[in-house]
């Protein structure tokens, strides 16, 4: 494969597409699929076939605003239709050379207006099972450019220059991590893609793996060239069967096109990737646990240093990045480090994908430049809390993050600002809560999660999360005393400081942030034995019922 051959493939796809006057793109992502997108796509394909018009029906990845699904976009007019069902197929086919179907059309200009699509640039535009679709949108161009025109150092420099930071939650500078692995000595090095999206409420990595799998593969191959690795692993949750199947297809297609394997692009560069399945353990999102799991062991973390960059898989230098981090690599190579650096805030560059869910009008995947105001994401892009209820908090970062109250909505979204507010960017889950959510109960929900997901290796996490959970249970049932609040804070501090890995160190965050911003709710539960949101059942109420 050469750049010319790649260009030829892209040319062929464009010629093929030019045979059609219209493209009907059907979103097949999980949210739309669960509402019958499969039947819809079949119905559309059948209808346009008999319509006599030249129409291409394409099954794509996530288009974004899931709550409007099943979604269909008709190009070249860029008309978006919402809540489309098989019975609408005729109307859409008939409308193609006339006016759009008014009753299905949706106006989401505000939703899309402040979004910038880098990671999601192909989502909704390509068939994820066709490598040529990806190539036609500049896919693998970055890899071939790197292999034929750039030195590994040049790649490292460009990634460093971009200011990209790890999108898995830690925010560690990607260029620095790559440079460390590149400098590490050893003839065998590994690349690992962390697709163990364990944070409940986040699904951007699933969407990228399912909707644009080649983007991840290309990013990994570029990383391998830069650090000198020849073998990679993608670690995917077993709960994501479609992602596994799309990645398997993508890997096979990439090998067929000689974009993976030995002597890629007639150079000396060899690289191939294997998929590893997770088995349902949140702690495996932590890098040392993930490595243990790939080695076929229980996913238990170990102390760092040595960092995986020096001693990772089977003791060899290993580069671990998250799905979204790898998904950013190809555009950075194509458009330059400066281009990426120019987006975002002072210390958080580029864009970030968030999964916007919970009590919000428009749920789905959004991609915004870092530094955007939190309020813009919630109120403009997400359309705010549905009418009749009031916004209470937005939870970011999952079980490792915190709850941000209404008074802080004008803060910017960046690694630093969210951390300062007691939360984290995390993998990018954003769950909006209204006044029907009890913050003590929310804290208890997350603590139950961390308690049962603790790998059990270190005592602060294993025993501490259980004790915090017990305390929160007592508070939520009205059996706690004010002294318990002090005990709770003390315990949180211990678990935070003394735990071995990220899981334990961040587990107290949901408790600490709700204590900070919603202390009154805790006090209501303790002193007045009352849950202001009406969620928790008090022991005294239970006693009344049984009496």
């Amino acid at each position: 494969m050469t750049i010319e051959e790649l260009e030829q493939i892209a040319q062929n796809v464009r010629q093929e597409n030019a045979k059609y006057d219209y493209e009907v793109n059907v979103c097949m992502d999980l949210a739309c699929a669960s509402q019958g997108a499969q039947q819809l796509a079949d119905a559309l394909a059948k209808t346009v076939e008999t319509s006599g018009k030249r129409v291409l029906v394409r099954r794509t990845g996530c288009m974004g605003p899931c709550s409007h699904g099943p979604l269909v976009r008709v190009d070249p007019d860029n008309t978006l239709y919402e809540h489309v069902h098989p019975e609408h197929a005729e109307a859409i086919a008939a409308s193609l050379d006339g006016k759009p179907v008014a009753e299905l059309q949706c106006d989401l200009n505000e939703h899309f207006g402040s979004q910038v699509r880098v990671v999601l640039e192909n989502a909704g535009h390509i068939d994820p099972e066709k490598i040529d679709d990806y190539i036609a949108r500049d896919g693998y161009k970055a890899l071939l450019t790197v292999l034929t025109e750039m030195t590994p150092n040049g790649v490292l420099h460009r990634i460093t220059e971009s200011g990209l930071r790890g999108r898995g939650g830690g925010g560690y500078p990607t260029g620095l991590k790559w440079s460390t692995v590149a400098k590490a000595t050893g003839d065998i090095k590994y690349i690992v893609c962390n697709g163990d999206e364990g944070d409940p409420g986040a699904f951007m990595d699933r969407s990228v793996m399912e909707g644009d799998p080649h983007r991840v593969i290309e990013g990994m191959a570029i990383a391998a060239y830069a650090v000198g690795a020849s073998k990679g692993f993608i670690y995917v949750r077993a709960e994501y069967p479609i992602a596994v199947s799309r990645l398997t297809t993508a890997l096979r297609e990439a090998r067929r096109r000689s974009l993976l394997g030995n002597g890629i692009c007639n150079t000396q560069f060899d690289f191939d990737i294997e998929i590893r399945l997770g088995a349902g353990a949140f702690v495996c999102g932590e890098e040392t646990s993930l490595l243990a799991s790939i080695e076929g062991r229980r996913g238990m973390s170990r102390p760092r240093p040595p960092y995986p960059a020096v001693s990772g898989l089977w003791g060899k230098p290993t580069l671990i990045n998250n799905v979204e981090t790898f998904a950013n690599i190809a555009p950075i190579i194509r458009k330059g480090g400066r281009w990426f650096h120019d987006m975002g805030s002072e210390n958080s560059k580029g864009t970030k994908v968030f999964a916007l869910t919970g009590k919000i009008t428009t749920t789905g995947l959004v991609e915004v430049p870092m530094g955007i105001k939190l309020r813009d994401i919630i109120e403009v892009i997400g359309g705010g809390v549905p009418a009749g209820r009031t916004f209470k908090a937005v939870q970011t970062g999952g079980p490792s993050g915190g709850c941000i109250p209404a008074e802080l909505l004008d803060m910017e979204v960046s690694y630093e600002a969210l951390q300062k507010a007691g939360s984290i960017v995390g993998s990018g889950g954003m769950i909006v809560m209204d006044d029907t959510s009890c913050m003590v109960n929310v804290a208890r929900f997350f603590m139950e999660f961390c308690m049962s997901e603790s790998c059990g290796k270190c005592i602060p996490c294993r025993a501490g999360t259980a004790q915090i959970f017990n305390l929160l249970t007592r508070i939520s049932t009205g059996e706690a005393a004010m002294d318990d609040l002090a005990l709770l804070e003390q315990l949180c501090a211990t678990v935070k400081d003394a735990s071995l890995c990220g899981l334990g160190q961040t587990a107290p965050n949901p408790v600490l942030s709700t204590l900070k911003y919603f202390r009154n709710e805790y006090i209501e539960h303790i002193v007045n034995k009352r849950c202001p949101a009406g969620v928790c059942t008090m022991q005294s109420e239970l006693a009344e019922v049984t009496a």
Binding site: L30, G201, E239, G280, G296, T357, M433
Partner: protein, 164 residues
Amino acid sequence: MATLPPPPLPSDDKRWKLVSGAMRKNGYARHALIETLHTVQSSFGYLDDDAIRFVAKSLRVPLSQAYGVVTFYHYFSLKPPGKHTLTVCAGTACYIKGAAKLIAAAESKLGVAQGQTTPDGEVSLMTARCVGACSRAPVMLADNQVSGEMTPEHLIEQLERWAV
């Protein structure tokens, strides 16, 4: 070191061939333990003692390590599943949108707690940590078919369809 030949298949059930095929594909490497256990579970529905022993012996992994791995990961089950499986997602978005009500409805309808199978072996009630369909919370899976924006009434209807 001379490598021992892999142990004989536990029975002439054809599914064991899939399992040994998965191990052969990975060159009987020890690190293929989790991959192999996945194959066992997808072929048989669960992992029993015979299966764990067979895999451990084939891959030359201590039984303790194999059993440790099986019990560490939530995805692996030591009990056979019911004829149907109803999984309620208990991820954060689903929790905020009332997954607890769905679980309570299913528990009272089936008369078993989450994680259990009805005595007649018909339905297993499970919860999931997150299936990634958060934008349509609360979500349930009926035999792996995802449905969003669930209500207790819809859930009961599904259970009644299975009961017929």
